[in-house]
């Protein structure tokens, strides 16, 4: 018995009961669409969660931070060297699993920035190398980043985040226009600096969508005195973008010579770095890369372990765990709806063979084997599931569009090829299971009884 002929018989059978078949398929269509849509939602959520982690440098970024000596070495406390440029040079030469090294010398939260009468305390003011752009995933929107020459000459130039601009020059929301303060002078802890660049505004996709949504649909203005309406814009991870926007970068040498002179010894300003960021070549080699960096630094620190590594591994694992939970719980619910669709197919197939008992009798009388009848019924149900699956994949795009309209401020759902493949094959598999029982029942019919059936 030719498979193609059977498929065509199946298609004809479906076509001759269009309405009934459409209703049957609907179960599979909705099941497949909800499976794909659910996974698209979870993927969007995952992207949202990973955004904040990417914003602070991603999983490959490792911070080397200073820490107190372990108790066994505490008697050496007065000989501690701290993290210095020696470490940077040593790592650069010897740590082959590290592809990017950025020293940072920061000023701490006490630093004050002012312009005219406006005063602001940014989250982070630090001196660093131009490659901090790559290390901390910054993008310059206006002006330029300082370069090696600025660093060599220890020029008083800085690059600011948009939050600094908002506080010192006025934000877009207040003034109604985008102020670009390139070339303006600001005061950083009493010293005059020229702004030569400004970063883009960092925000999560969700924050951005919320902002755009609010601009398109302004909420009614609050009555009464002006006040802050609370924290918590942008959901979890919003703080990462807040911090990133509230940043001022200046050349490392500028920071060292202009702000550290007071705390130095022997006429040399204090060379201790506050942080040393490294970017490893790949997450898979995290353990090896850290071991290598530790070995190098133990050398430069004369075996005094006054440093520690800080990675985002926990954060990353938490995200993976959470996403996995959502995926499984959502997946099981969607799979149940697919199985319900399959039960619908089984029901219809039973009705269909009862209707065709006589036909099955005739087919057997003229030579159809038990197996041929079995395959015919099975293929009919697979064809229903197959068409339903294809339509479900198409419908899933519509479903995702619907999600976007219903929740315009949430993270964009992302349809994944893998989820489509899984949903489709699961749908066809359910169709096959649903066809088994009716097919066995049809195949077992006694030809004489079937021929007599009215």
């Amino acid at each position: 018995m030719n498979i193609w002929a059977t498929i065509i018989v199946g298609l004809k059978e479906i076509w001759s009961h269009k309405f009934r078949s459409a209703l049957t398929m609907l179960g599979i269509v909705l099941g497949v669409a909800s499976l794909v849509g659910m996974s698209a939602l979870v993927k969007g959520m995952e992207n949202g969660m990973r955004e904040a982690m990417q914003a602070v440098g991603g999983i490959e970024k490792v911070s080397v931070i200073q820490q107190d000596l372990p108790p066994s070495q505490s008697h050496l406390a007065d000989q501690v060297v701290g993290i210095t440029m020696d470490d940077v040079e040593a790592l650069k030469k010897n740590a082959t699993l590290t592809k990017l090294i950025t020293p940072e010398m920061s000023m701490g939260r006490g630093a004050v920035v002012s312009h005219g009468k406006k005063v602001y305390r940014p989250w982070n003011i630090c001196g660093t190398w131009p490659n901090a752009l790559e290390m901390n995933v910054h993008t310059i929107e206006y002006g330029r980043m300082f370069n090696e020459i600025d660093d060599d000459l220890a020029r008083n130039v800085c690059v600011i985040g948009t939050e600094v601009r908002d506080q010192l020059f006025g934000s877009f929301e207040e003034t109604g226009k985008e102020i670009v303060p390139i070339g303006e002078n600001i005061n950083i802890n009493g010293q005059l600096f020229t702004i030569i660049g400004m970063f883009t505004r960092y925000e999560s996709e969700k924050q951005k969508k919320e902002r755009e949504y609010q601009m398109a649909n302004p909420s009614p203005e609050r009555m009464g005195p002006q006040r802050r309406t609370g924290w918590g814009r942008g959901g979890p991870g919003g703080w990462a973008f807040m911090m990133k926007n509230s940043t001022i970068y200046m050349p490392l040498n500028t920071m060292w010579m202009k702000f550290r002179a007071a705390s130095g010894t022997g006429g040399i300003p204090d060379p201790t770095l506050s942080t040393l960021n490294i970017r490893i070549t790949s997450v898979e080699e995290m353990d090896a890369a850290l071991q290598q960096a530790r070995n190098v630094m133990m050398q430069t620190h004369f075996a005094m372990e006054d440093f520690d590594f800080r990675t985002q591994e926990n954060w990353d694992e938490n995200i993976s765990k959470q996403v996995n939970n959502y995926r499984w719980s959502g997946g099981i619910i969607a799979a149940i709806s697919l199985i319900v669709g399959g039960i619908g197919i089984m029901n219809i197939m039973f009705a269909s063979i009862t209707e065709r008992i006589r036909e099955i009798g005739v087919r057997k009388a003229i030579g159809a084997t038990t197996f041929a009848i079995f395959i015919q019924i099975l293929i009919e149900s697979i064809v229903v599931a197959f068409i339903g699956g294809v339509m479900g994949l198409i419908a899933s795009y519509g479903l995702v569009e619907l999600f976007k309209i219903l929740i315009p401020t949430d993270n964009e759902p992302v349809i994944m090829m893998s989820s489509m493949v899984i949903a489709f094959s699961f749908g066809v598999f359910v169709g096959l299971l649903a066809g088994l029982l009716p097919a066995v029942k049809a195949a077992k019919l006694d030809p004489i009884e079937a021929l007599r059936y009215e």
């Binding site: 018995m1 030719n2 002929a5 004809k12 059978e13 001759s16 006589r358 036909e359 009798g361 005739v362 087919r363 057997k364 009388a365 003229i366 030579g367 159809a368 084997t369 038990t370 197996f371 041929a372 030809p447 004489i448 021929l451």
Partner: protein
Amino acid sequence: MALVELRNVSKIYQVGDEEIRALDDVTLDIENGEFISIIGPSGSGKSTLMHLLGCLDTPTHGTITLDGIQIQNATSMQLAAIRNRKIGFVFQSFNLLPKLNVAQNVEVPMIYAGVSSRERRERVMEALKRVGLENRAKHRPMQLSGGQQQRVAIARALINRPRIIFADEPTGNLDTHTGEAILTLFRELSQQGSTIVLVTHNPEIAAVTPRRIEIRDGKISINIDKRLAGLE
């Protein structure tokens, strides 16, 4: 050796505690090329005999040999293959598949036999020509008259060049005139060499065939061969 040989065949149905002997110790030979009618009132066992001859069922006792093949112990798959290649069926109610057109209906047995699609097309037209319906190939069964539908059924029965054709009350649903035309067609087929078994309860129809077997209460009561009796 005869085309079909029945030796002491019995078919016994168990209904509750009661044994019903639908066929009781029947012995019968059908030669190649014969045109036979099996006649008997309803309940006589003629349908059971036809089911056994047509390999739709297996006997309780006795042996049946069809074209040299023992069928009393055959599996359902072997029976299906025998029905497909060696036997053609014509039914009282035509039993065409309503969703297929005439050509497709005639084609079905060849699909089960695994004939290539080109050969199928040729043989379908050939068979339709033989029953005089070559210009009705694309029609649905419901668009045809009863006589035409029965001709389609005969074309379907012939399509795999069976060794024997069983016709179960082939004229039962037709008016006298059309019924006669169908019987004429059978006679023509017989003259061309086909082995045909007509099952009927109507003596007038049975009179058409050279040989007549009458069944009563599961036994052969009369076995007349006009040619042997010198009547024809």
